[in-house]
């Protein structure tokens, strides 16, 4: 066993040294330098963990072999994660990343809890890896990285970082909401038969599912708070043509589904826009989604996972979560807005992009090229 562990750790050491040789001399955009330094530091931390395993093997103690085995397996897992995902933002770095990185930098700098968390960009469907204080990796489809229109979706992903930064308070708010949902779903008369037992099981699944749903809805609300209309348009355009599953999901598939059905998310965004007096945008979004649903003959049905009577408690919890997390833009929603304009904010530009695209999509690319060039100058 000792020899197997020694060889495995020496192999990891060799791989880490190889990786260091590749990463160290890389030249990256200025916006990625902090992350580049973090990657080098992480490489060194992994190397130290391997060296510690080798050191423990040299103690020649059989009693701690289970711990050395477990540590070796853990560092191997971490190395594969590092090698596969965390190094790539540096290895794939290109000049065009500057646009996304600039927005992410502004976003992270906009909040005291995220100011010192580096951000990096990788290819993929929109997603994020929010594990503060570790750097946040943001994933974005390749084509979207070159333009302005889908950048507001990062505002949703940033919501996950804010949630993680305020985890204890957020979890408590979600817990209270889950309790309220459980009570609201209780039937007026409690029976004691097989059907009642099945209904209770379903209620339990619904209540549990709302943990993930609440976080996603909070992130949508954070996105809208930060970006306003540009977030709603980006969100809607990105998802509205992805087919029936965005409008309707079978009951069985809803069980412990990690995202609420998109049509429900749009409904709640519409409600949020309406509460902020953005009636025109609210009506437009509502009509957009119901027109597509009508064309597919889809009837709105969330199989009890959402009922209109849940809306007040859900929206109140989201409002409390926004107050707790305090994303940039929240102050503008209140009547006591300071009126101070953040000149470094890219939000006005992103809103202008959507206004221009919606008014004249054929002329948009030309305007976008020039707007991006100005932003990066």
């Amino acid at each position: 066993m000792k020899e197997i562990l020694r060889h495995s750790n020496l192999d990891l050491l060799r791989e880490l040294e190889q990786l260091g040789v590749i990463i160290r001399p890389l030249s990256v955009p200025a916006e990625l330098e902090v992350y580049h330094r973090w990657v080098l530091g992480k490489c060194e931390a992994l190397r130290k963990a391997v060296v510690r395993n080798l050191g423990r093997l040299e103690l020649l103690r059989d009693d701690i072999l289970p711990e050395i085995l477990s540590s070796t397996q853990a560092v191997t897992r971490e190395f594969h994660q590092f090698n596969r995902w965390l190094v790539s933002p540096v290895l794939r770095a290109r000049e065009s990343d500057r646009l996304s990185l600039k927005i992410l930098q502004w976003l992270h700098f906009s909040h005291p809890r995220t100011r010192n968390i580096p951000a990096a960009l990788s290819d993929g469907d929109f997603a994020s890896w929010p594990v503060p204080p570790l750097p946040t990796i943001y994933f974005m489809p390749c084509s979207a990285q070159h333009g302005l229109l889908y950048l507001p979706i990062f505002f949703h992903e940033f919501g996950h970082v804010l949630y993680a930064c305020h985890r204890d308070e957020m979890d408590q708010l979600v817990r209270e909401l889950q309790e309220q949902i459980g009570e609201l779903l209780l039937p007026s008369v409690l029976r004691d038969d097989l059907q009642a037992k099945r209904e209770e099981e379903k209620r339990s699944i619904i209540v549990e599912t709302w943990y993930e749903w609440t976080q996603e809805l909070f992130c949508d609300a954070a996105g809208y708070t930060i970006g306003g209309p540009c977030f709603a348009y980006a969100f809607s355009m990105y998802l509205c043509m992805r087919g029936r599953s965005q409008f309707y999901v079978k009951e069985k598939e809803l069980h412990r589904r990690e995202h609420p059905v998109t049509w429900l998310r749009v409904r709640l965004l519409v409600d949020r826009a309406r509460r902020q007096g953005k009636e025109e945008q609210a009506r437009e979004l509502e009509l957009h989604w119901s027109t597509i649903a009508d064309a597919m003959h889809v009837t709105e049905d969330y199989h009890g996972f959402y009922e209109p009577e849940l809306r007040p408690v859900v929206q109140q919890t989201i409002a409390d979560m926004l107050t707790e997390a305090s994303p940039v833009g929240l102050e503008n929603e209140s009547s006591e807005s300071s009126g101070i304009v953040d000149v470094s904010s890219p939000v006005p530009l992103l809103n202008e992009a959507w206004t221009r695209f919606r008014a004249a999509p054929q002329h948009y690319p030309e305007w976008e090229r020039s707007a991006v060039a100005s932003l990066l100058r």
Binding site: R77, W129, H156, E157
Partner: protein, 146 residues
């Protein structure tokens, strides 16, 4: 928009917990053997703190799960872990941690006598197995299969 955040947060949480379990276990084994483990005392205390915080959280979720109530205030991975813990109690694992009532973390972790230390080591070994099984699902989601 994917839910990678669930897998990566759970993965990192499990990895941190495993590191803490291994640090504390080596420290206790060294104490029992009467040798130095070379770990700075603050690293051992930090490990103890990570495990205690985890066990305190787990206690609430396991209680809810054992009463057939919904497990609330926890994400799907943590809920799964609470349910795996409950399923393993008294069946697969028999250490103090997995007996009828979850012991108070501070009592379990503050092992002073040789017997208490041995009891703690058994619990840590069972907990490690549970977490190692749990992290596999996150690893699969993050790294895929080969």
């Amino acid at each position: 928009m994917s839910t990678q955040w669930l897998a990566i947060q759970s993965f990192q949480h499990s990895q941190d917990l495993l590191a803490a379990i291994n640090t504390l276990a080596i420290h206790i084994k060294s104490k029992l053997a009467g040798v130095l483990d070379g770990e700075p005392p603050e690293a051992v205390e930090n490990a103890r703190g990570i495990i205690a915080a985890f066990l305190n959280d787990l206690k609430t979720f396991v209680e809810e799960a054992s009463e057939a109530k919904p497990v609330i205030g926890a994400d799907t991975r943590l809920r799964q872990l609470a349910k795996s813990f409950l399923a393993a109690k008294g069946r697969r694992f028999h250490s103090a941690l997995f007996r009828k009532t979850l012991p108070k973390p501070e009592e379990l972790l503050d092992a002073k006598s040789a017997e208490e230390r041995r009891t703690l080591l058994e619990s840590l070994a069972d907990l490690r197995t549970l977490i190692e099984e749990h992290v596999q699902a996150d690893e699969l989601r993050i790294l895929g299969d080969f």
